[in-house]
């Protein structure tokens, strides 16, 4: 008998005997010591004005992104363009829980985060069209949005590489003696990058004020979480570092806000890092060129119909007594604003060629 075959047999017998093979097929057991859990939090009790604000912000992102998709189709946007459509409740819900001096850092799907953190939609769209009026003067593009005033540290193209940066931002916040927190967003794909765990370890070691937010839209480009991850309950990924985790419905802005409030309180009070997994969904492709072979149209359609974050808050507003006409007029205002944004982004001048040589070094 081939010795490799024999070794495999012995190994499988070992796994069966110790029950390790079973773990693959049994439902995962929750850890008793980790403090991670999947139980839904009570929703945030929002006033009507707050709900209206959520509605406006999410609708603005949605219409903005739809317009970006159109401009891309017209060849006006170069490079890449990763749309946030479907995930709006995450950035909007979290942003509403922050205070002055808190910071945000995220990956490449950054338009929504830039807008909710305070960047003007015009400057974001003009960045996509590579114009001098862009938020990085048309030198950064879709993945590289930054706004120091808003505490928005980007906008990063290398998947997962922003996670140590966010951890370092949190180190500095603590070192300077502030009680500020840092939101460090990344996706389910980034959750499989090694340096994420280097950062987790240091964050817990020094109890840094960082909230790790996994925006689990379920696909790393074309690879689903199930096809890429041995442990699919991503909120548990901090457990062995001593970082508590929580599963949150990322399509329900009120649950997001409640989770954000609890996480911000935990971290601001000096309890160290926390990890939240936001279950969400992107309706569009990973980028503008996406063959979409990895999911069915039906899956996308069902999610749109049953879990859409904007429809959710709209329904709550109507139940609360908001007038449908008022919502329609908000929709109209946003539509007009986005048209204006697009006009600006199409017509702003391109960067001067001399800009190519600026800002390589401070003294250059």
């Amino acid at each position: 008998m081939d010795s490799r075959f024999l070794c495999n047999r012995i190994y499988i017998l070992f796994l069966l005997k110790t029950g390790r093979l079973m773990a693959k097929t049994s439902p995962p057991r929750s850890s008793k010591t980790s403090g991670s859990n999947a139980k839904a939090l009570p929703e945030y009790k929002a006033s009507r004005d707050e709900m209206l604000d959520f509605y406006k912000q999410m609708t603005l992102i949605r219409r903005f992104e739809e317009k970006a998709g159109q401009l891309y189709g017209m060849g006006l946007i170069g490079g890449f363009c990763h749309l946030y459509i479907g995930q709006e409740a995450v950035a909007v819900g979290f942003q509403s829980a922050l205070k002055e001096g808190d910071s945000i850092i995220t990956g490449y799907r950054a338009h929504g985060h830039a807008i909710v953190s305070g960047a003007s939609p015009k400057s974001v769209m003009a960045e996509l069209t590579g114009r001098s009026g862009g938020i990085a003067k048309g030198k950064g593009g879709s993945m590289h949005m930054f706004d120091p005033k808003a505490g928005f540290f980007g906008g990063h193209g290398i998947v997962g590489a922003q996670v140590p940066l966010g951890t370092g931002l949190a180190f500095a916040a603590k070192y300077k003696g502030t009680d500020n927190v840092v939101l460090t967003y990344f996706g389910d794909g980034a959750a499989n990058q090694g340096q994420v765990y280097e950062a987790f370890n240091m964050a817990k070691l020094w109890n840094l004020p960082v909230i790790y937010i996994i925006e689990n839209n379920q696909y790393a480009m074309g690879t689903s979480v199930a096809r890429s991850s041995g442990q699919q309950e991503l909120y548990k990924r901090g457990e062995s570092f001593g970082i508590p985790g929580k599963l949150v419905d990322g399509m329900n802005v009120l649950e997001v806000r409640a989770a954000a409030d609890a996480a911000v309180k935990h971290v601001r009070e000096g309890n160290g890092p926390i990890l939240l997994e936001l279950k969400t969904y992107r309706y569009r492709g990973h980028s503008m060129s996406d063959p979409a072979k990895y999911r069915t149209r039906d899956e996308v359609q069902t999610t749109r119909e049953e879990r859409d974050p904007i429809e959710f808050i709209k329904k709550r507003l109507l139940e609360d007594g908001a007038e449908e006409d008022m919502l329609k007029s908000i929709d109209k205002e946003i539509k007009d604003e986005v048209s204006e944004v697009a006009d600006y982004a199409r017509n702003a001048p391109e960067p001067d060629p001399s800009e190519l040589y600026t800002d390589i070094l401070v003294e250059s």
């Binding site: 030198k139 950064g140 590489a161 951890t167 370092g168 950062a199 370890n201 240091m202």
Partner: protein, 325 residues
């Protein structure tokens, strides 16, 4: 004035920076309690505390990524990689964030940080414990690359690097850490990053070197002087941005140049220097520019280490050959 080795001078520069500016912190594996793998940070945790002399886990990408975040948020981190050969774990953080943040954000953020790394052969190690891959960093726009060649310069250049608003890769030639002492002044004489130093004036040819090869180039110049040849020796000190002016001025005067580095030969700093000299001083050249370098191999284990490194004799021979043309 104190007689210090280069490792003590490096230590002094960090001590002074920590005392001068609360935003400065040191971080890396074993930089605290253990005083650093080569003892560069010895005694600093005792005087400045564990919050500023930070022992990190073994995680190069995490260390550099964290340091970028710190630098973006108002701090001035000085990170140590135990050996330059370990920095490849952090390569993408250096390439994608350290070097580009300023450009990418159109100058609204900068990354004032220093990454110290011992590099080079001559300590009976091999491969990633001995190699000189400075060309990687010099090739990347947005980084400054500084390499001292002795205690006085190490102290002054590291002080300048920590104060610099741009990210600086600080390559320390580990073979020189305890090779000789110099009288290091009580107050650092400022050395500007981006300037080369003419350490010996001559009219017959120009030897260009840096780091651990500088003392060998100087020794070769002394040997040439025995033959009546006056070699000018330039210590680059800053590899990037390169002090082209000093080099071109010298080569225009001597008409001959030999570049010395211990890094492997192809696509290295020597190739860049040859190209610049061709561009700017071609009609002053009396002979082709020579390179005396390591070979295109990985630095060998100790039995053959000195065969790999440019020796004084190799530098001398190549210089003589240049002069025969």
């Amino acid at each position: 004035m104190a007689e210090l080795t280069m490792i003590q001078a490096v230590n002094l520069a960090m001590r002074e920076a920590l005392a001068e500016d609360d935003a400065v912190i040191l971080l890396g594996q074993d930089v605290g309690v253990d005083g650093g793998i080569f003892r560069a940070t010895q005694g600093l945790i005792e005087d400045f505390g564990a919050a500023r002399v930070l022992d990190t886990p073994l995680a190069e990408a995490g260390i550099i990524g964290m340091a970028v975040g710190m630098a973006l948020n108002g701090m001035k981190p000085v990170a140590e990689m135990q050996f330059s050969g370990f920095s490849y774990q952090a390569f993408h953080q250096i390439e994608n964030h350290v070097a580009r943040f300023r450009w990418r954000t159109n100058g609204r953020f900068s990354v004032p940080m220093v990454i110290r790394m011992p590099y080079g052969a001559g300590v009976r190690a091999l491969e990633h414990h001995s190699e000189s891959r400075e060309a990687y960093w010099a090739h990347t726009p947005g980084l400054k690359l500084v390499i001292p060649s002795g205690p006085i310069k190490a102290r002054a250049l590291l002080a300048a690097a920590i104060r610099d608003p741009d990210p600086v890769i600080f390559y320390e030639p580990k073979a020189l850490y305890r090779a000789f002492k110099e009288d290091v002044p009580d107050v650092a004489e400022p050395i500007k990053i981006g300037k080369a130093d003419v350490v010996r004036v001559g009219k017959d040819l120009t030897l260009i070197a840096y780091g651990a090869m500088l003392p060998r180039a100087v020794d070769a110049a002394t040997k040439l002087a025995g033959d009546g040849i006056e070699a000018e020796v330039i210590d680059l000190m800053t590899i990037s941005p390169l002090d082209e002016e000093t080099i071109i001025q010298s080569v225009k005067k001597t008409g001959r140049a030999v570049v010395v580095h211990e890094a492997s030969r192809s696509f290295g700093v020597g190739a860049e220097l040859c190209a610049r000299i061709n561009d700017k001083a071609f009609f002053h050249l009396e002979a082709p520019v020579k390179r005396v370098t390591g070979y295109d191999i990985h630095p060998p284990f100790f039995a053959r280490e000195q065969h790999y490194l440019p020796s004084v004799l190799r530098i001398y021979d190549e210089a003589r050959e240049t002069l025969t043309i």
